[in-house]
Protein backbone atom coordinates (compact mmCIF):
# COMPACT_ATOMS: atom_id res chain seq x y z
CA UNK A 1 0.00 0.00 0.00
CA UNK A 2 0.99 3.61 -0.52
CA UNK A 3 1.81 5.41 2.69
CA UNK A 4 -0.73 7.95 3.94
CA UNK A 5 1.70 10.78 3.23
CA UNK A 6 2.17 9.93 -0.44
CA UNK A 7 -1.53 9.33 -0.80
CA UNK A 8 -2.22 12.82 0.50
CA UNK A 9 0.30 14.37 -1.90
CA UNK A 10 -1.23 12.46 -4.80
CA UNK A 11 -4.74 13.55 -3.88
CA UNK A 12 -3.57 17.16 -3.63
CA UNK A 13 -1.88 16.88 -7.01
CA UNK A 14 -5.13 15.57 -8.48
CA UNK A 15 -7.23 18.37 -6.99
CA UNK A 16 -4.67 20.93 -8.14
CA UNK A 17 -4.76 19.51 -11.67
CA UNK A 18 -8.50 20.26 -11.68
CA UNK A 19 -7.84 23.75 -10.31
CA UNK A 20 -4.98 24.56 -12.69
CA UNK A 21 -6.60 23.28 -15.86
CA UNK A 22 -9.86 25.10 -15.14
CA UNK A 23 -7.96 28.31 -14.37
CA UNK A 24 -6.00 27.79 -17.56
CA UNK A 25 -9.27 27.87 -19.51
CA UNK A 26 -9.89 31.40 -18.22
CA UNK A 27 -6.35 32.79 -18.14
CA UNK A 28 -4.46 30.78 -20.73
CA UNK A 29 -7.13 30.23 -23.38
CA UNK A 30 -9.56 33.11 -22.97
CA UNK A 31 -6.85 35.55 -21.89
CA UNK A 32 -8.68 36.92 -18.84
CA UNK A 33 -6.35 37.35 -15.88
CA UNK A 34 -8.21 36.06 -12.83
CA UNK A 35 -6.61 35.92 -9.40
CA UNK A 36 -9.66 34.82 -7.50
CA UNK A 37 -9.92 31.20 -8.55
CA UNK A 38 -9.66 29.97 -4.95
CA UNK A 39 -12.86 31.88 -4.18
CA UNK A 40 -14.81 29.59 -6.49
CA UNK A 41 -13.04 26.64 -4.92
CA UNK A 42 -14.23 27.80 -1.50
CA UNK A 43 -17.81 28.29 -2.72
CA UNK A 44 -17.75 24.73 -4.05
CA UNK A 45 -16.16 23.41 -0.87
CA UNK A 46 -18.64 25.06 1.49
CA UNK A 47 -21.65 24.20 -0.67
CA UNK A 48 -20.66 20.55 -1.03
CA UNK A 49 -19.85 20.26 2.68
CA UNK A 50 -23.11 21.90 3.77
CA UNK A 51 -25.14 19.72 1.41
CA UNK A 52 -23.48 16.60 2.80
CA UNK A 53 -23.82 17.69 6.42
CA UNK A 54 -27.38 19.02 6.29
CA UNK A 55 -29.10 17.05 3.56
CA UNK A 56 -27.07 13.88 3.62
CA UNK A 57 -27.06 13.61 -0.16
CA UNK A 58 -24.76 11.10 -1.89
CA UNK A 59 -21.20 12.33 -2.37
CA UNK A 60 -21.46 12.71 -6.15
CA UNK A 61 -24.52 14.93 -5.78
CA UNK A 62 -22.85 17.16 -3.18
CA UNK A 63 -19.88 17.57 -5.50
CA UNK A 64 -22.19 18.55 -8.36
CA UNK A 65 -24.10 20.94 -6.11
CA UNK A 66 -20.83 22.62 -5.14
CA UNK A 67 -19.74 22.86 -8.75
CA UNK A 68 -23.04 24.31 -9.94
CA UNK A 69 -23.25 26.91 -7.18
CA UNK A 70 -19.65 27.95 -7.94
CA UNK A 71 -20.57 28.23 -11.62
CA UNK A 72 -23.58 30.38 -10.75
CA UNK A 73 -21.32 32.74 -8.81
CA UNK A 74 -18.80 32.68 -11.63
CA UNK A 75 -21.47 33.87 -14.05
CA UNK A 76 -22.82 36.48 -11.61
CA UNK A 77 -19.36 37.86 -10.88
CA UNK A 78 -18.24 37.55 -14.47
CA UNK A 79 -21.00 39.70 -15.92
CA UNK A 80 -19.91 43.02 -14.40
CA UNK A 81 -16.17 42.36 -13.99
CA UNK A 82 -15.35 40.88 -17.40
CA UNK A 83 -16.00 44.24 -19.02
CA UNK A 84 -12.69 45.19 -17.38
CA UNK A 85 -9.39 44.37 -19.02
CA UNK A 86 -6.00 43.15 -17.88
CA UNK A 87 -4.82 44.61 -14.59
CA UNK A 88 -8.24 46.00 -13.73
CA UNK A 89 -9.86 42.61 -14.10
CA UNK A 90 -7.12 41.07 -11.96
CA UNK A 91 -7.78 43.57 -9.18
CA UNK A 92 -11.56 43.03 -9.41
CA UNK A 93 -11.17 39.24 -9.13
CA UNK A 94 -8.77 39.70 -6.23
CA UNK A 95 -11.36 41.87 -4.50
CA UNK A 96 -14.03 39.27 -5.15
CA UNK A 97 -11.84 36.58 -3.58
CA UNK A 98 -11.42 38.63 -0.43
CA UNK A 99 -15.16 39.36 -0.23
CA UNK A 100 -15.97 35.65 -0.42
CA UNK A 101 -13.43 34.84 2.28
CA UNK A 102 -14.77 37.52 4.61
CA UNK A 103 -18.39 36.53 4.00
CA UNK A 104 -17.57 32.92 4.93
CA UNK A 105 -15.68 34.19 7.96
CA UNK A 106 -18.81 35.95 9.21
CA UNK A 107 -21.70 33.74 8.17
CA UNK A 108 -23.23 31.56 10.85
CA UNK A 109 -24.08 28.66 8.54
CA UNK A 110 -20.45 28.30 7.44
CA UNK A 111 -19.22 28.18 11.04
CA UNK A 112 -17.60 31.60 10.87
CA UNK A 113 -13.99 31.74 11.97
CA UNK A 114 -14.22 28.23 13.38
CA UNK A 115 -14.86 26.79 9.94
CA UNK A 116 -16.79 23.64 9.12
CA UNK A 117 -15.81 20.47 10.93
CA UNK A 118 -16.80 16.85 10.82
CA UNK A 119 -17.30 16.62 7.05
CA UNK A 120 -17.39 12.90 6.22
CA UNK A 121 -14.27 11.64 4.49
CA UNK A 122 -15.53 10.62 1.10
CA UNK A 123 -12.74 11.69 -1.24
CA UNK A 124 -10.52 8.82 -2.28
CA UNK A 125 -7.73 8.75 -4.83
CA UNK A 126 -10.10 7.05 -7.24
CA UNK A 127 -12.65 9.85 -6.92
CA UNK A 128 -9.94 12.42 -7.56
CA UNK A 129 -8.65 10.59 -10.61
CA UNK A 130 -12.15 10.21 -12.04
CA UNK A 131 -12.92 13.88 -11.38
CA UNK A 132 -9.64 15.02 -12.96
CA UNK A 133 -10.24 12.89 -16.06
CA UNK A 134 -13.80 14.20 -16.27
CA UNK A 135 -12.48 17.78 -16.06
CA UNK A 136 -9.88 17.24 -18.75
CA UNK A 137 -12.36 15.45 -20.98
CA UNK A 138 -14.92 18.26 -20.81
CA UNK A 139 -12.33 21.03 -21.15
CA UNK A 140 -10.78 19.36 -24.16
CA UNK A 141 -14.17 18.97 -25.84
CA UNK A 142 -15.09 22.58 -25.15
CA UNK A 143 -11.76 23.83 -26.47
CA UNK A 144 -11.99 21.77 -29.66
CA UNK A 145 -15.28 23.32 -30.68
CA UNK A 146 -16.82 26.52 -31.96
CA UNK A 147 -16.97 27.72 -28.35
CA UNK A 148 -13.29 27.04 -27.66
CA UNK A 149 -12.29 28.75 -30.87
CA UNK A 150 -14.21 31.81 -29.75
CA UNK A 151 -12.35 31.78 -26.40
CA UNK A 152 -8.96 31.67 -28.10
CA UNK A 153 -9.96 34.32 -30.64
CA UNK A 154 -10.85 36.66 -27.76
CA UNK A 155 -7.43 36.06 -26.24
CA UNK A 156 -5.71 36.75 -29.55
CA UNK A 157 -7.59 39.91 -30.50
CA UNK A 158 -10.82 40.91 -28.85
CA UNK A 159 -11.69 43.63 -31.35
CA UNK A 160 -11.17 41.34 -34.32
CA UNK A 161 -13.16 38.61 -32.57
CA UNK A 162 -16.12 40.97 -32.09
CA UNK A 163 -15.88 42.03 -35.71
CA UNK A 164 -16.03 38.39 -36.79
CA UNK A 165 -19.28 37.85 -34.89
CA UNK A 166 -18.17 36.78 -31.43
CA UNK A 167 -20.09 38.36 -28.58
CA UNK A 168 -17.03 38.68 -26.39
CA UNK A 169 -18.87 39.46 -23.15
CA UNK A 170 -20.99 36.33 -23.51
CA UNK A 171 -18.02 34.07 -24.22
CA UNK A 172 -15.88 35.56 -21.46
CA UNK A 173 -18.67 34.99 -18.94
CA UNK A 174 -19.13 31.46 -20.29
CA UNK A 175 -15.44 30.71 -19.90
CA UNK A 176 -15.50 32.14 -16.40
CA UNK A 177 -18.56 30.03 -15.55
CA UNK A 178 -17.05 26.79 -16.82
CA UNK A 179 -13.79 27.57 -14.99
CA UNK A 180 -15.72 28.24 -11.77
CA UNK A 181 -17.68 25.00 -12.18
CA UNK A 182 -14.51 22.89 -12.06
CA UNK A 183 -13.00 25.05 -9.33
CA UNK A 184 -16.12 24.26 -7.31
CA UNK A 185 -15.68 20.58 -8.07
CA UNK A 186 -12.09 20.75 -6.81
CA UNK A 187 -13.32 22.53 -3.68
CA UNK A 188 -15.86 19.79 -2.95
CA UNK A 189 -13.16 17.12 -3.23
CA UNK A 190 -10.89 19.17 -0.99
CA UNK A 191 -13.58 19.55 1.71
CA UNK A 192 -14.37 15.84 1.75
CA UNK A 193 -10.73 14.88 2.00
CA UNK A 194 -9.48 17.14 4.78
CA UNK A 195 -12.86 16.97 6.55
CA UNK A 196 -12.33 20.48 7.84
CA UNK A 197 -12.52 23.74 5.93
CA UNK A 198 -11.81 27.23 7.06
CA UNK A 199 -12.13 30.51 5.11
CA UNK A 200 -8.36 30.96 5.22
CA UNK A 201 -7.88 27.62 3.42
CA UNK A 202 -8.93 29.50 0.28
CA UNK A 203 -7.21 32.84 0.64
CA UNK A 204 -5.33 35.03 -1.77
CA UNK A 205 -2.21 32.86 -1.54
CA UNK A 206 -4.06 29.84 -2.84
CA UNK A 207 -5.28 31.79 -5.87
CA UNK A 208 -1.71 32.90 -6.50
CA UNK A 209 -0.47 29.34 -6.11
CA UNK A 210 -2.96 28.16 -8.73
CA UNK A 211 -1.93 30.94 -11.05
CA UNK A 212 1.71 29.89 -10.56
CA UNK A 213 0.84 26.37 -11.69
CA UNK A 214 -0.66 27.67 -14.91
CA UNK A 215 2.10 30.16 -15.66
CA UNK A 216 4.88 27.75 -14.71
CA UNK A 217 3.44 24.94 -16.79
CA UNK A 218 2.58 27.11 -19.75
CA UNK A 219 -0.36 29.39 -20.44
CA UNK A 220 -2.86 28.08 -22.96
CA UNK A 221 -1.67 24.51 -22.75
CA UNK A 222 -3.41 21.75 -20.81
CA UNK A 223 -0.38 19.46 -20.53
CA UNK A 224 1.51 22.44 -19.18
CA UNK A 225 -1.14 23.13 -16.53
CA UNK A 226 -0.99 19.47 -15.43
CA UNK A 227 2.80 19.59 -15.14
CA UNK A 228 2.54 22.90 -13.32
CA UNK A 229 0.06 21.45 -10.82
CA UNK A 230 2.31 18.45 -10.28
CA UNK A 231 5.43 20.56 -9.70
CA UNK A 232 3.93 23.32 -7.59
CA UNK A 233 2.27 20.73 -5.35
CA UNK A 234 5.21 18.39 -4.99
CA UNK A 235 8.26 20.70 -4.99
CA UNK A 236 7.41 22.24 -1.59
CA UNK A 237 7.01 18.68 -0.30
CA UNK A 238 10.41 17.65 -1.67
CA UNK A 239 11.96 20.73 -0.10
CA UNK A 240 10.39 19.98 3.25
CA UNK A 241 13.73 18.64 4.50
CA UNK A 242 15.25 22.12 4.36
CA UNK A 243 12.34 23.35 6.46
CA UNK A 244 12.38 27.15 6.69
CA UNK A 245 14.33 27.60 3.46
CA UNK A 246 11.88 25.79 1.26
CA UNK A 247 9.82 28.87 0.44
CA UNK A 248 13.03 30.63 -0.58
CA UNK A 249 13.87 27.81 -2.99
CA UNK A 250 10.33 27.81 -4.25
CA UNK A 251 10.44 31.54 -4.95
CA UNK A 252 13.85 31.24 -6.60
CA UNK A 253 12.58 28.53 -8.96
CA UNK A 254 9.75 30.79 -10.05
CA UNK A 255 12.10 33.72 -10.67
CA UNK A 256 14.54 31.58 -12.65
CA UNK A 257 11.69 30.15 -14.69
CA UNK A 258 10.37 33.56 -15.63
CA UNK A 259 13.87 34.66 -16.59
CA UNK A 260 14.86 31.61 -18.61
CA UNK A 261 11.61 30.34 -19.99
CA UNK A 262 8.78 32.85 -19.69
CA UNK A 263 6.38 30.80 -21.79
CA UNK A 264 6.35 28.05 -19.17
CA UNK A 265 7.66 24.52 -19.24
CA UNK A 266 5.26 23.20 -21.85
CA UNK A 267 3.78 26.44 -23.13
CA UNK A 268 3.87 27.79 -26.62
CA UNK A 269 2.50 31.21 -25.90
CA UNK A 270 5.44 33.50 -25.35
CA UNK A 271 4.45 35.80 -22.53
CA UNK A 272 7.32 38.27 -22.54
CA UNK A 273 8.72 39.21 -25.92
CA UNK A 274 8.94 37.07 -29.02
CA UNK A 275 10.79 33.97 -29.91
CA UNK A 276 11.14 31.51 -27.09
CA UNK A 277 13.47 28.61 -27.72
CA UNK A 278 10.67 26.72 -29.41
CA UNK A 279 11.07 29.18 -32.26
CA UNK A 280 14.77 28.43 -32.52
CA UNK A 281 16.20 26.48 -35.44
CA UNK A 282 17.78 23.99 -33.07
CA UNK A 283 14.45 23.11 -31.54
CA UNK A 284 12.76 22.75 -34.90
CA UNK A 285 15.57 20.53 -36.18
CA UNK A 286 15.41 18.52 -33.03
CA UNK A 287 11.68 17.94 -33.22
CA UNK A 288 11.99 17.66 -37.00
CA UNK A 289 8.59 19.24 -37.46
CA UNK A 290 6.42 21.43 -35.38
CA UNK A 291 3.69 18.89 -34.89
CA UNK A 292 3.84 19.38 -31.14
CA UNK A 293 3.22 23.07 -31.49
CA UNK A 294 -0.11 22.35 -33.09
CA UNK A 295 -1.47 19.90 -30.58
CA UNK A 296 -3.89 21.21 -28.02
Amino acid sequence: MISAYYLQVMILVGINIIMATSLNLVVGYTGQLSIGHAAFMSIGAYTAALVTLNLGLPFALSLLAGAFVAMLFGILIGMPTLKLKGDYLAIATLGFGEIVRIVFLNLKITGGAVGLRGIPKETTLLWVIVAAIFTLFILKRVLKSRVGRAFIAIREDETAAETMGINSTYYKVLSFGVGAFFAGLGGGLFAHYFRYIHPNSFGFMRSIEQLCMVVLGGLGNMTGAIIGALLVTSIPELLRASAEYRLVFYGAILIIMMRVRPQGIWGEKVVAGRGGWRDSKLFKRWTNNDRKLKGL
Partner: protein, 261 residues
Amino acid sequence: MTLAENSEPILYAQKVSRYFGGLKALEKVDLFVKKQEIMGLIGPNGAGKTTLFNLFTGHYQPSEGEITFLQEKIGGLKPYAIIKKGIARTFQNIRLFGQMTALENVLIGRHCRLQTGLTGAILRRPRDKQEEKEAEEAAVEFLKFVGLDGKKREKARNLSYGEQRRLEISRALASNPALLLLDEPAAGMNPQETTALMKLISKIRDDMEKTILLIEHDMKVVMGISERIAVLDYGKKIAEGTPREIQSNEDVIRAYLGDTA
Protein backbone atom coordinates in the same frame (compact mmCIF):
# COMPACT_ATOMS: atom_id res chain seq x y z
CA MET B 1 -20.23 47.00 -64.23
CA THR B 2 -23.47 46.72 -66.08
CA LEU B 3 -25.20 45.13 -63.13
CA ALA B 4 -24.04 47.76 -60.71
CA GLU B 5 -25.25 50.62 -62.83
CA ASN B 6 -28.91 49.77 -62.51
CA SER B 7 -28.94 47.99 -59.20
CA GLU B 8 -30.37 49.07 -55.89
CA PRO B 9 -28.20 50.62 -53.20
CA ILE B 10 -27.66 48.15 -50.37
CA LEU B 11 -25.89 50.52 -48.01
CA TYR B 12 -27.05 54.03 -47.31
CA ALA B 13 -25.38 56.55 -45.04
CA GLN B 14 -27.50 59.67 -44.57
CA LYS B 15 -25.95 62.78 -43.07
CA VAL B 16 -23.68 60.69 -40.88
CA SER B 17 -21.49 62.58 -38.42
CA ARG B 18 -19.07 61.36 -35.82
CA TYR B 19 -17.49 63.66 -33.24
CA PHE B 20 -14.69 62.82 -30.86
CA GLY B 21 -15.05 65.56 -28.28
CA GLY B 22 -14.58 68.72 -30.28
CA LEU B 23 -13.04 66.95 -33.24
CA LYS B 24 -15.34 66.43 -36.18
CA ALA B 25 -14.03 63.20 -37.65
CA LEU B 26 -16.97 62.98 -40.02
CA GLU B 27 -19.48 65.67 -40.83
CA LYS B 28 -22.79 65.03 -42.58
CA VAL B 29 -21.47 62.43 -44.96
CA ASP B 30 -23.91 61.00 -47.51
CA LEU B 31 -22.85 57.81 -49.16
CA PHE B 32 -24.50 54.87 -50.85
CA VAL B 33 -23.13 51.65 -52.22
CA LYS B 34 -25.00 49.81 -54.96
CA LYS B 35 -25.42 46.08 -55.10
CA GLN B 36 -22.47 44.26 -56.65
CA GLU B 37 -20.39 47.28 -57.38
CA ILE B 38 -16.81 47.95 -56.41
CA MET B 39 -16.62 51.34 -54.80
CA GLY B 40 -13.47 53.14 -53.74
CA LEU B 41 -13.14 55.47 -50.79
CA ILE B 42 -10.12 57.75 -50.90
CA GLY B 43 -8.81 60.81 -49.17
CA PRO B 44 -5.69 62.10 -47.44
CA ASN B 45 -4.62 60.64 -44.10
CA GLY B 46 -6.97 61.54 -41.30
CA ALA B 47 -9.84 62.30 -43.68
CA GLY B 48 -12.18 59.97 -41.79
CA LYS B 49 -12.19 56.92 -44.08
CA THR B 50 -11.54 54.33 -41.40
CA THR B 51 -13.91 56.15 -39.03
CA LEU B 52 -16.63 55.69 -41.62
CA PHE B 53 -15.80 51.96 -41.80
CA ASN B 54 -15.96 51.78 -38.02
CA LEU B 55 -19.44 53.32 -38.14
CA PHE B 56 -20.57 50.77 -40.71
CA THR B 57 -19.29 47.84 -38.64
CA GLY B 58 -20.58 49.07 -35.29
CA HIS B 59 -17.25 49.86 -33.66
CA TYR B 60 -18.43 53.44 -33.31
CA GLN B 61 -21.94 54.75 -33.14
CA PRO B 62 -22.81 57.72 -35.33
CA SER B 63 -23.16 61.00 -33.41
CA GLU B 64 -25.79 62.03 -35.94
CA GLY B 65 -27.35 60.58 -39.03
CA GLU B 66 -28.55 57.18 -40.07
CA ILE B 67 -27.03 54.10 -41.64
CA THR B 68 -29.32 51.75 -43.53
CA PHE B 69 -28.22 48.35 -44.78
CA LEU B 70 -30.63 46.23 -46.83
CA GLN B 71 -33.57 48.40 -45.79
CA GLU B 72 -32.69 48.03 -42.13
CA LYS B 73 -31.28 50.63 -39.76
CA ILE B 74 -28.02 49.35 -38.34
CA GLY B 75 -26.90 52.34 -36.26
CA GLY B 76 -26.53 51.25 -32.62
CA LEU B 77 -25.88 47.57 -33.36
CA LYS B 78 -22.79 45.87 -31.96
CA PRO B 79 -20.10 44.59 -34.34
CA TYR B 80 -21.00 40.95 -33.68
CA ALA B 81 -24.60 41.65 -34.69
CA ILE B 82 -23.66 43.59 -37.80
CA ILE B 83 -21.59 40.80 -39.32
CA LYS B 84 -24.65 38.58 -39.01
CA LYS B 85 -26.61 41.12 -41.06
CA GLY B 86 -24.01 40.74 -43.80
CA ILE B 87 -21.24 43.34 -43.48
CA ALA B 88 -17.73 41.97 -43.03
CA ARG B 89 -14.45 43.81 -43.03
CA THR B 90 -10.69 43.62 -42.99
CA PHE B 91 -8.39 45.92 -41.05
CA GLN B 92 -5.80 48.46 -42.12
CA ASN B 93 -3.24 46.90 -39.77
CA ILE B 94 -3.86 43.17 -40.22
CA ARG B 95 -5.72 41.73 -37.23
CA LEU B 96 -5.53 37.97 -37.48
CA PHE B 97 -5.58 35.51 -34.60
CA GLY B 98 -1.84 34.93 -34.69
CA GLN B 99 -1.61 31.75 -32.61
CA MET B 100 -4.44 30.08 -34.51
CA THR B 101 -3.98 28.24 -37.77
CA ALA B 102 -5.14 29.67 -41.08
CA LEU B 103 -8.04 27.20 -41.05
CA GLU B 104 -9.08 28.19 -37.53
CA ASN B 105 -9.00 31.85 -38.52
CA VAL B 106 -11.43 31.18 -41.34
CA LEU B 107 -13.58 29.05 -39.03
CA ILE B 108 -13.87 32.08 -36.73
CA GLY B 109 -15.14 33.95 -39.77
CA ARG B 110 -17.89 31.33 -40.03
CA HIS B 111 -18.72 31.63 -36.32
CA CYS B 112 -21.83 33.74 -36.88
CA ARG B 113 -23.29 31.15 -39.27
CA LEU B 114 -22.89 28.24 -36.83
CA GLN B 115 -25.03 27.13 -33.92
CA THR B 116 -23.07 24.82 -31.60
CA GLY B 117 -23.06 26.14 -28.05
CA LEU B 118 -21.63 24.80 -24.82
CA THR B 119 -23.97 21.81 -24.64
CA GLY B 120 -23.27 20.85 -28.22
CA ALA B 121 -19.54 21.22 -27.65
CA ILE B 122 -19.64 18.84 -24.67
CA LEU B 123 -22.13 16.29 -26.00
CA ARG B 124 -20.98 16.33 -29.62
CA ARG B 125 -24.36 15.28 -30.93
CA PRO B 126 -24.50 14.09 -34.57
CA ARG B 127 -25.70 17.49 -35.75
CA ASP B 128 -22.83 19.25 -33.97
CA LYS B 129 -20.33 16.96 -35.63
CA GLN B 130 -22.06 17.46 -38.96
CA GLU B 131 -22.01 21.23 -38.56
CA GLU B 132 -18.33 21.24 -37.65
CA LYS B 133 -17.49 19.02 -40.60
CA GLU B 134 -19.39 21.23 -43.03
CA ALA B 135 -17.85 24.37 -41.53
CA GLU B 136 -14.39 22.93 -42.02
CA GLU B 137 -15.12 21.96 -45.62
CA ALA B 138 -16.47 25.44 -46.30
CA ALA B 139 -13.42 27.00 -44.63
CA VAL B 140 -11.10 25.00 -46.87
CA GLU B 141 -13.02 26.29 -49.89
CA PHE B 142 -12.59 29.88 -48.71
CA LEU B 143 -8.87 29.26 -48.23
CA LYS B 144 -8.69 27.77 -51.70
CA PHE B 145 -10.40 30.84 -53.12
CA VAL B 146 -7.55 33.06 -51.95
CA GLY B 147 -4.95 30.41 -52.75
CA LEU B 148 -4.06 29.46 -49.21
CA ASP B 149 -5.40 25.90 -48.98
CA GLY B 150 -1.84 24.62 -48.80
CA LYS B 151 -1.24 26.66 -45.65
CA LYS B 152 -4.29 25.67 -43.65
CA ARG B 153 -2.32 24.09 -40.79
CA GLU B 154 0.12 26.99 -40.67
CA LYS B 155 -0.18 29.46 -37.80
CA ALA B 156 -1.42 32.83 -39.01
CA ARG B 157 1.54 34.67 -37.53
CA ASN B 158 3.98 32.52 -39.51
CA LEU B 159 2.44 33.45 -42.86
CA SER B 160 4.03 36.05 -45.11
CA TYR B 161 2.62 39.54 -45.20
CA GLY B 162 0.77 39.06 -48.47
CA GLU B 163 -0.62 35.73 -47.29
CA GLN B 164 -1.85 37.34 -44.09
CA ARG B 165 -3.70 39.98 -46.11
CA ARG B 166 -5.35 37.26 -48.21
CA LEU B 167 -6.19 35.21 -45.12
CA GLU B 168 -7.95 38.20 -43.63
CA ILE B 169 -10.05 38.55 -46.78
CA SER B 170 -10.81 34.82 -46.69
CA ARG B 171 -11.86 35.07 -43.03
CA ALA B 172 -14.22 37.94 -43.85
CA LEU B 173 -15.70 36.06 -46.82
CA ALA B 174 -16.37 33.03 -44.64
CA SER B 175 -19.10 34.96 -42.83
CA ASN B 176 -20.96 35.06 -46.16
CA PRO B 177 -21.36 38.84 -46.28
CA ALA B 178 -23.36 40.80 -48.84
CA LEU B 179 -20.99 43.73 -48.40
CA LEU B 180 -17.26 43.45 -47.94
CA LEU B 181 -15.30 46.39 -46.54
CA LEU B 182 -11.59 46.33 -47.33
CA ASP B 183 -9.39 48.78 -45.43
CA GLU B 184 -6.24 49.40 -47.48
CA PRO B 185 -5.90 45.86 -48.81
CA ALA B 186 -2.88 46.70 -50.97
CA ALA B 187 -0.88 48.49 -48.23
CA GLY B 188 2.69 47.21 -48.09
CA MET B 189 2.36 44.97 -51.14
CA ASN B 190 4.82 44.76 -54.01
CA PRO B 191 3.59 45.37 -57.60
CA GLN B 192 3.06 41.66 -58.36
CA GLU B 193 1.09 41.12 -55.17
CA THR B 194 -0.95 44.23 -55.93
CA THR B 195 -1.88 42.97 -59.38
CA ALA B 196 -2.89 39.61 -57.92
CA LEU B 197 -4.95 41.38 -55.28
CA MET B 198 -6.82 43.41 -57.90
CA LYS B 199 -7.69 40.20 -59.71
CA LEU B 200 -8.82 38.65 -56.45
CA ILE B 201 -11.10 41.59 -55.62
CA SER B 202 -12.70 41.47 -59.06
CA LYS B 203 -13.13 37.72 -58.68
CA ILE B 204 -14.86 38.19 -55.33
CA ARG B 205 -17.36 40.51 -56.96
CA ASP B 206 -17.85 38.51 -60.15
CA ASP B 207 -17.79 34.91 -58.86
CA MET B 208 -19.11 35.39 -55.36
CA GLU B 209 -21.43 38.25 -56.27
CA LYS B 210 -20.36 40.47 -53.41
CA THR B 211 -20.50 44.22 -53.09
CA ILE B 212 -17.16 45.78 -52.21
CA LEU B 213 -16.28 49.09 -50.61
CA LEU B 214 -12.57 49.67 -50.29
CA ILE B 215 -10.26 52.26 -48.82
CA GLU B 216 -7.01 52.44 -50.72
CA HIS B 217 -4.10 54.81 -51.14
CA ASP B 218 -2.66 53.01 -54.14
CA MET B 219 -4.23 54.97 -57.00
CA LYS B 220 -3.44 52.25 -59.50
CA VAL B 221 -5.68 49.91 -57.52
CA VAL B 222 -8.52 52.34 -56.85
CA MET B 223 -8.66 53.74 -60.35
CA GLY B 224 -8.16 50.29 -61.83
CA ILE B 225 -11.00 48.41 -60.20
CA SER B 226 -13.51 50.87 -58.77
CA GLU B 227 -16.61 51.75 -60.67
CA ARG B 228 -17.34 54.70 -58.46
CA ILE B 229 -15.15 56.61 -56.05
CA ALA B 230 -16.00 58.87 -53.12
CA VAL B 231 -13.43 61.29 -51.77
CA LEU B 232 -13.27 62.40 -48.16
CA ASP B 233 -11.28 65.33 -46.84
CA TYR B 234 -11.36 66.65 -43.27
CA GLY B 235 -14.42 64.55 -42.52
CA LYS B 236 -16.44 65.83 -45.46
CA LYS B 237 -17.27 64.24 -48.74
CA ILE B 238 -15.77 66.51 -51.37
CA ALA B 239 -16.41 64.49 -54.50
CA GLU B 240 -18.03 61.40 -55.90
CA GLY B 241 -18.01 59.89 -59.35
CA THR B 242 -16.31 57.60 -61.82
CA PRO B 243 -12.51 57.28 -61.69
CA ARG B 244 -12.23 59.57 -64.70
CA GLU B 245 -14.36 62.27 -63.09
CA ILE B 246 -12.41 62.05 -59.85
CA GLN B 247 -9.05 62.34 -61.60
CA SER B 248 -10.04 65.66 -63.14
CA ASN B 249 -11.96 67.02 -60.15
CA GLU B 250 -10.31 70.22 -58.92
CA ASP B 251 -11.39 69.85 -55.30
CA VAL B 252 -9.76 66.43 -55.20
CA ILE B 253 -6.55 67.67 -56.75
CA ARG B 254 -6.46 70.50 -54.23
CA ALA B 255 -7.06 68.14 -51.31
CA TYR B 256 -4.20 65.91 -52.37
CA LEU B 257 -1.68 68.40 -53.66
CA GLY B 258 -2.54 71.60 -51.83
CA ASP B 259 -3.67 75.00 -53.07
CA THR B 260 -0.53 75.82 -54.99
CA ALA B 261 -0.94 72.93 -57.39
